[in-house]
Amino acid sequence: MSVSLLLLIPLLPFAGFLINGLGFKRIPNSAAGGLGVLAALGSFAASLYAFSLFKENGSETVIAPVFDWISVGTLNIPFSFQIDQLSLLMLLIITGVGSLIHIYSLGYMKHDEGFGKFFAYLNLFLFFMLLLVMGSNYVMMFIGWEGVGLCSYLLIGFWNRNTSYNNAARKAFIMNRIGDLGFLLGIFAIIAAFGSVEFSEIFAKAGAFSVGDPVIVTITLLLFVGAMGKSAQIPLYTWLPDAMAGPTPVSALIHAATMVTAGIYMVIRSNVLYSLAPVTLEVVAIIGAATAILGASIGLLQNDIKKVLAYSTVSQLGYMFIALGVAAYSASMFHVITHAFFKALLFLGAGSVIHAMSDEQDIRQMGGLRKHLPVTFITFLIATWAISGLPPFAGFFSKDEILAHAFAHNKVLWGLGILGSVMTSFYMFRLLFLTFFGEFRGTEAQAHHLHESPSSMTIPLIILAVLSAAGGFIGVPEVLHGSNQLAAFMSPLFEGARKVNPGLFAPIGLSHSTEYMLMGISVGAALLAAIAAYVIYVQRGSVPAPESVERRGLEKLVYNKYYIDELYEAVFVKPVRILSDVLWSFGEFVIDLFVEGFGALVIFLSGKARKLQTGFTGYYIFAMVLGIVLFLFWNLVVKHNSAFKDLL
């Protein structure tokens, strides 16, 4: 695998960004869109080719140095790419799903005045995301990590004439920065402990540490803080629902399929370190489970189609962290893949609905859309089926693998997982039924406007629907007569971890009957929740109460998202505001006093002094003569006369 091929993967989107970004407003929309899509597709083709080469060469990890980048003392940070199973899987997801979303955007953003800018940002995002997953050291990962954060900011605030959108963008950026600080400290700790940031070197040296070593625990916890920010885990998750202010393809690409999974990628990449720190793994599992439950419960009562999906993403990311916490790294990656398919599909489907509804996002105003949007409806149904964990679609296999590992590890974790899965199934079917079933509840104008989306939007939906349906078959568990190809493919990644902490990777030892029972329980529970949703929202035809109705007790608490935003506002935002106000008024008072005082003094004195210029010529001449007389008197009399000696 040559360096030039690998360089091509990130550089194609970057070229797209440069051309669209610099030529913005001069390049016609058709060319800008085509260019953006071609850049993504080219990158996808290069990734596929790299994948096939990797397979041919016997799945050997490739580290391709591009150039020496930073060399300080003993610390050497090369700019190099690492291609192995993990980065290839991420590459395929990013460029594959990314390309589909680029194509979708052609239709979705067609009438937007910032069309070229949008594609420039999307391409820039791809570039940074690819850098993140291809880098062979933590510093390159960090560049990508920051870069995707920047693109996320730019795209959430894409419609920057709306102040609340800008605020959402700032919120996302700032919360990510909090996480990034942890990540950065983690990198520093790694440099201190290992003297290197290269993955291969660190993981080779990690064997010297014993299991549970405090240094490793510190490093992994700090890195996990970074993951919390990027992957929207408690307590740094509140930016993700607000991030829905961005255009829907952005929500699909960045805030569902790729960027938010960067935290999971990072943990899997550092699996050797995490396997050495069981304490951190416990923390990861607990936070994951808490996030899964919290996100799902908030999703139950949301009425904005994108907000429901956003909380669903938070919750599903929680599942991935549960899997990481029980050291089921490949199960977590499996869920990343399937989630990328069905969540991207759900968001794109939601985008198609919003497009048809003339930018209406409230599901209380929808209903009965299945007749008007047949393709969207069927693909949305498939995605809902998949995310709810119902067989035989993708979500079933990945979620089941996570739950099986959780069960083997800790029954409580499994119970929470099942609870989350029930809620997931309920809110997703609630969303589906309220949107596509029953009577249309919107305005006349909206009803008149209803139409299926153009083919540039439906074709990506169909492809993603196929993937959501069939994507699970890459990881069919052994109990269902599969061979779990994904786990087998990824297993070389965890060899280092297996060596340093063999106990963690003991076979989970569940009998087939137990596994069948677990599947039965999770599927049965999800199905029951779906039926409950059907009874409530289709048979009884109930619609969530409008905003004006006063809610009570627990319902009020959940509907208002547990008041977490308000809590943060009061605990963090307000004090910082007050502090900055104080500092500002200090600057305003003390510094301005000096600066403006000097100015005022000069103006005052010069105001007096300029009165000397009277304009009378006689006055000037008199002053001149007087001056000369004084001058002469001084030089000729005072200086040479002993009578004045004492004065001098």
Partner: protein
């Protein structure tokens, strides 16, 4: 009071006929007349004449010293002063003529717009 230069012994008798301090008194008187004229008169032309008077008082002094020291440098210098003064008079009078044409007046008290 002031350390005056003592005249060298080889200067001609005809020059010594008028003592140096006579020249000094004369040019000082001329100079003071000029200063008083500049300070007290309001007509621009008269002030101009007074300035010329001061200039020539200095010229006279220069010539006197030059003769008593047998040093021709100052005489050359005086020619320069006269040439420059002639040029200055041309410019100055031209300005006064222009002022007069525009204001029908040569009173310096009248031109006092250029102030704070």
């Amino acid at each position: 009071m002031f350390p005056f230069p003592v005249a060298p012994p080889d200067i001609p008798e005809v020059i010594k006929m008028v003592p140096l301090h006579y020249y000094l008194f004369l040019s000082t008187a001329l100079f003071v007349i000029g200063i008083i004229g500049v300070l007290t008169r309001r007509n621009a032309i008269v002030i101009f004449m007074s300035v010329e008077l001061m200039l020539n008082a200095v010229n006279l002094l220069l010539i006197a010293f030059s003769s008593y020291r047998s040093d021709p440098n100052a005489q050359v210098f005086v020619f320069f002063v006269m040439a420059v003064a002639a040029a200055e008079v041309a410019v100055g009078l031209a300005i006064i003529v222009m002022i007069y044409r525009n204001t029908r007046n040569t009173d310096i008290g009248f031109l006092k717009k250029l102030k704070w």
